[in-house]
Amino acid sequence: MTDDAVVARERRRRAFELLRAALDVELASRQAWIAQQAGDDRDLAEAVNALLDATGADVLDQGAAEIAARLVGDDAVDDMPEGSRIGAWTIVGAIGSGGMGTVYRARRDGDGYVQVGALKRIKRGMDSDAMLARFRRERQILSRLAHPAIARLLDGGVAEDGRPYLVMEYIEGESLSTWSTRGDRDLDARIDLVLALCAAVAHAHHQLVVHRDIKPANVVVTADGTPRLLDFGIARVLESDTDADATATAARFVSRAYAAPEQLQGLAVTTATDIFQLGALLHELLTGLRLASGDATTRPSQRLAAARERAGALGPATIFAKTLAGDAGIVVARATDADPARRYATVEAFADDLRRWRDGRPILARPDSTGYRLRRFVGRHRWFVGFAACAIVAVLAGGGVALWQARVAASQERVALERAATAERVKGFMIGLFQAPDPARARGAMPRADELLDRGAAQIAHGLAGEPRVQAELYETMALSYMGLGRFDKGAELLERASAMVGDAGDPALAARVETRLGSAHAELGHYEQALAALDRATRQRERSPTPEPADEARIEAVRGWVLRDLGRYAESETALRRSLERARAAPGEMNPAALRALNNLAYTLQLAGRKQESIAAYERLVDWFAAHEPADSQPRLWAEYTFAKSLRDLGEPARARDILQRIRPAVLRVVGESHADLAGLDIALAQSLMDLGDVAAPARVVDAVARSHAAVPQENMLWANAEFALAEAEQRAGNTDAATTNYEAARAAYVALAGEAHPAVHECTRRLTQLAQSREAVD
């Protein structure tokens, strides 16, 4: 070692010593402490500070064994030799293998045809819950997408060994990287290719899917020059992915070289992320160089040209630097801005500007667009947007109205344009809501959610007269938020107003949606006649729609089935729910949320109708599906298990009911909180099961839980009546004949008020009241 090297090492040792000691010093005074320790040796202080600034070495966060497994996996034995069968597919050979799984070429022999697909499955040892969840998500996402430039999902399932697989369209072609290195790809061909990819990504965005990993390796170009976008392995569904960890997890999966800044920083990933990656792809296709970060010294308009210059002979021979100077540079710079809010608002806007540039027309990108300002606003008020989203999700999960796909599926241009305009107006209104002067809160404090709602509801009528469509959408949004807070009365009131506006607004799909929601709001309140009337209007509106969606009908029938069940009309309820299930199945995904909902409702109706075996079979199917596809604390899964347990108790299987309820209670508590009616309902069912099993303390627990249920749901709806009935039963078991009589009478009155004299529960109350009277006489 030379003397210099010895000295350098000695300095590094000192720096390290100082660094270690500095870590013990509080952050606030650390800098000063280091400076003091280093004294005159400024370089030393600087070296220590540089070390403190260094972060990364993320590889240390993973387990060494996990990494070993992944690396070992690369040469794991191929467990699917040629000729093996998986589902309907026969393996032809392996195509490639990644760390997580292997892709095989597979064929399916049909009636007179042979289909070839790319079959993908997870490697042994890689099938952790997280990986399986990711795999399932990819499958669900692919089933949503149908676009000529997106590799299609052909099939999927679970193999005999329990590992899932999916089969994609097998695409003959070359990777985009290979394609682009060929000298004869001229500017037009390259732009056309990016535009085709934009169309595919736009389609995905319309389905609320973000790809998140667009890069050359994920694009295949077929012989006729058209691209296919592959790999939705880390894609994400925008509105359903409420898991905050998902973003962080996915950040680990992203290919770093092509990641957008927000992905590297672990921030929210949105459609803007895909726009960044498309911009980066365009950069690479036009210049031959990967987009490099920190190239801020050059003016945006010159960056692309400068990159082409740098690439020299490595860049595409048919494209010259001067061609790329000016607007092309601005388009790429705008798409790849480090701040997601400054990028193009939509893929379409990006594609449009690209087309404008190619055609020699002026581009639309501006230094500071309205869209930019608007999104800055949303960024600043994320808490409200977050609240609204939470409220809506709560309604969807609790009330059972899953996402309205008509909105997404609306492909007709006119409707889409109108809706976009409406959405803009809605946004504008929301902004106005925040800006409304309010002297009481002049010092900048944020208004509370319910105050905002009240203020908004009052303003809709005044501020937007003459725009029924916008008003209706706003009323609907507000109603969902109220209902998310448990205010079904307010929700129904606003939906009634929305209903009055959309009746003739010329958008039957929207009208059907509003009416269905109104139906469920009334059902929550126990206003069954009004609920049925709203549902009838929903059906009529749906039929008037030029493109009636099966999913819409599934939703209408699901609510109808629920109302009819509460009314004790079990046969009609069953018919409606079976119809709902059938229509839901017509939508993509073997078991979409609508189908699950219908099945859950059907199982409950069958239980009430006294068809024990069928009911249990339906529940078991449902619960098994959830167990295989959803995490233990997913709300729909908990709901399914809860209703199953409740039915089991009523069907005379209290032990099974108790086991389920005790198992899920902690998760339910976590999800809904202490004072929620569902937790009280769970505790009622649990105490009832224990009571059936002979626990003498159980009736008191029922009484306690009923009190909590009544506190949570003061309206005398079906839930209230059921709780009252449970209370009566507990009093009866505890031997409190008088109290039991009073409670049965109260329950009976509630049932009559809600569903009429003919309701089976009314008869049951009467029967038990008679029993009580007889036993009393016997005592007397």
């Binding site: 040792r13 540089a50 060494a64 070993a68 690369d74 490639g96 099938d127 952790s128 994609m168 992203v254």
Partner: protein, 186 residues
Amino acid sequence: MDESLTELLDAAGKGDDAAQGRLFALLYDELHRCAHRQLGGGGETLSTTALVHETYMKLAAADRLRLESRRHFMALAARAMRQVLVDRARRASADKRGGSAAFITLDDRVPDAPSTAGDVLALDRALTELEGIDARAARVVQLHFFGGLTFGAIAELEGLNERTIKRDWQAARHLLAATMGADGAA
């Protein structure tokens, strides 16, 4: 096994290079086997601790090791694990370079898959650098990351308190990150 583990460790501890070499080879093979077996068994997720522990149980089943021997063993096991990883990473990155350009990258991205091998190699280089700067901190990284030992267990082995070990780890992370960053940019 011809020699008992204790004998081997004793010999290695006395500076017998041949014994040290045999011991290392033994561990290296055993870790490889464990990793493969766990993978082939399916279902189970791998953990470093489990791997090293299994190796330890297997090799040390016959005789309980004294603390001194245990310390030696753990250090060796961690080093063997590091070697397993580095060898794997070398092979993986060689595959990548000469690899087929199969466009089906459907699942190419297990956490940072393309860079995992590179990361491991960069870490190995940075750790070697650290060994020259602060041997104890390097040992802590090796035992914790490659050996899967908790800070508490390392503290016991080193005869220091846990807080000191954690400080070592923290400081080492900064230095490794700095070295790896410079490495990547070069």
